[in-house]
């Protein structure tokens, strides 16, 4: 028992995060069994396509959460490695869908085997200064430079933009999710109004983030079906509505506040958790809209059907990719060095004319 205890202490989890994790897995597990049962029904009054979508999503999320739970038991490094593999697979799907030319081959080799692993190595070593700039600056200079040397100029700008975008979304953006584990955060004591060091486990912040993305996706889907009237862009996605985006943001904010009040796994105040959840929701929605737009442009419905029989990883994590960097930076700005954040805020507000 003491061995188990010390192992648990060294894992990324504590009592509260473990309860949250078990709760998520339970909810997903029940949904999964439910959708399996629904699929067996002859289902005259049920829409088969909706059930299939539901089943795909639940299975994918159950898989992701199970793997995340296991990796979190074994510490930060393994969690980073897990996200590396997700990134790698998503980038594979993205580049497979993107038409590249012969001249891009060697550039793609470096993108897959240098920049992608390097990004995660830097995250694992907690080198914030490096992992925030290597892909957006150095990779974006390397890619056009290397392609130019091959002498193939056909659709040059288009090709480099596509490769760069894939790298940015699938690798750079997603790597900010495991980077949350390395933040040293503070919390605002609401009785004394003073900042104190947060003593919780950082896995709580990552779990909060992942759960909020899922809640947002689910609520978005539900609001679209139940109350959706004003379609945002029918050419991109005929089911996404303004009611869905707003409803999901409000609903996710409420869910975020509830989680923080019942099971405080993050250093956020209850209203802070609400604001962060709403932010995650809006970013998640715009993420899936963007990826839908790319898929429509390429004429594919899902990355999963792109090559027969593959599970579309990118279909599931598009919302995570968009929300991760924003959530990371807002959390880091306000809670890693709160005095500094207050100072910057003061300086900015002093510039206002009123």
């Amino acid at each position: 028992m003491p061995l188990l205890q010390s192992w648990f202490d060294r894992s990324l989890l504590d009592g509260k995060t473990l309860i949250l994790l078990v709760a998520i897995l339970l909810v997903l597990g029940i949904c999964w069994i439910g959708s399996r049962l629904l699929r067996r029904q002859p289902a005259a009054n049920l829409d088969a396509a909706i059930i299939r979508t539901f089943d795909n999503r639940v299975s994918a999320w159950l898989m992701i959460c199970l793997l995340l739970a296991v990796t979190m038991m074994f510490g930060q490094i393994l969690t980073v490695v897990f996200f590396f593999f997700v990134s790698f697979w998503a980038l594979r799907e993205f580049i497979t869908m993107t038409p590249t030319r012969r001249g891009d081959h060697r550039t793609l080799f470096w993108v897959f085997f240098l920049f992608t692993p390097l990004q995660y190595v830097m995250v694992a070593l907690d080198k914030y200064q490096l992992y925030t700039i290597v892909i957006p600056v150095y990779a974006s200079l390397f890619i056009p430079g290397r392609i130019a040397m091959t002498g193939d100029t056909k659709r040059f700008l288009e090709r480099i933009a596509k490769i760069q975008f894939g790298l940015l979304i699938c690798v750079y953006a997603l790597s900010h999710a495991p980077a949350l584990l390395y933040l040293k955060l503070h919390r605002l004591n609401l009785t004394t109004y003073e900042w104190e060091e947060w003593d919780g486990k950082p896995a709580g912040v990552l779990l909060f983030f992942v759960v909020m993305v899922q809640v947002s996706d689910t609520l978005h889907f539900a609001w679209d079906r139940l109350f959706g009237k004003h379609v945002i862009a029918p050419t991109v996605n005929s089911t996404r509505t303004w009611e869905g985006i707003i409803g999901a943001a409000v609903g996710t904010a409420v869910a975020g506040m509830l989680i923080q009040l019942l099971l405080p796994v993050t250093p956020f105040t209850w209203y802070g958790a609400g604001i962060m959840a709403a932010l995650i929701s809006v970013m998640a929605s715009s993420g899936s809209m963007t990826m839908s737009a790319i898929k429509r442009d390429r004429g594919v419905k899902d990355y999963g059907t792109l090559v027969q029989g593959h599970a579309g990883v990118l279909d599931r994590i598009d919302s995570v990719c968009f929300a991760a960097p924003i959530f990371f930076h807002v959390t880091r700005f306000f809670l890693e060095r709160p005095e500094k954040a207050a100072e910057v805020t003061r300086e900015l507000t002093s510039l206002l004319p009123f």
Partner: protein
């Protein structure tokens, strides 16, 4: 040593090519077959072989070009692992016919993987088939000829490159065909080619 490195090689080939295999209108079977596929990359033979079920790998022999797989110790070692039958493209002679050699090599147990286009086409468009497959069918009418369509592997490793880029590819294996009685060479070859084109069109319709 070989029993260890063969699964490793198959695993690596499957990982880098991200290949999914679909058997359309047929099932894996240990009967003697000839898998004939479009040729787009040096990896074709290796990946197609690797994506067969494990029991079939040891009895399936890709036919590949000697000038490529004999070049250098690494390629020679790899080709020894997946039982390649090496054909010298430059010295095809009547007394040393590759077809006779293939028939000799497979005996009454093994299957073959052949690329009847002969060489890879950089544009990706399929060439006309060489006649070897017809003579093979004529001498061994009991063999099942399985059409295979390999998609996207030319992007994983294009002609002239030696480092792979791990994109996703797809291998579709279609229903078997045989040489009909009295069927002429050109008829048989274009029918075989059409089978692969059919798999290709199915593939793009479903996606």
């Amino acid at each position: 040593m070989k029993s260890l490195s063969v699964p490793v090689l198959a695993g690596l080939a499957k990982f880098f090519s991200g290949a999914t295999v679909r058997w359309v209108g047929c099932e894996p079977d240990s009967c003697q077959r000839v898998y004939f596929a479009n040729h787009t990359s040096h990896l074709d033979a290796l990946v197609l072989w690797a994506s067969l079920p494990k029991q079939l790998r040891s009895i399936t022999r890709p036919v590949a070009a000697k000038d490529y797989w004999d070049g250098g110790p690494v390629r020679r070692y790899v080709s020894s692992l997946f039982n390649v039958i090496l054909i010298d493209r430059k010295q095809v002679k009547a007394h040393n016919s590759p077809i006779d050699m293939m028939i000799r090599e497979i005996g009454s147990r093994d299957s073959l993987i052949v690329f009847p286009e002969g060489s890879r086409n950089p544009t990706g468009e399929m060439r006309d088939f060489k006649s070897g497959m017809y003579y093979l069918a004529k001498k061994r009418p009991d063999l099942e000829f399985m059409p295979v369509y390999i998609d996207n592997l030319n992007r994983v490793m294009p002609k002239g490159e030696f480092l792979p880029v791990p994109l996703l590819s797809c291998i579709t294996i279609g229903p078997p065909m045989w040489l009909e009685t009295g069927e002429r060479k050109q008829q048989f070859l274009s029918r075989a080619r059409a089978e692969i084109v059919k798999l290709k069109e199915q593939d793009s319709n479903e996606a």
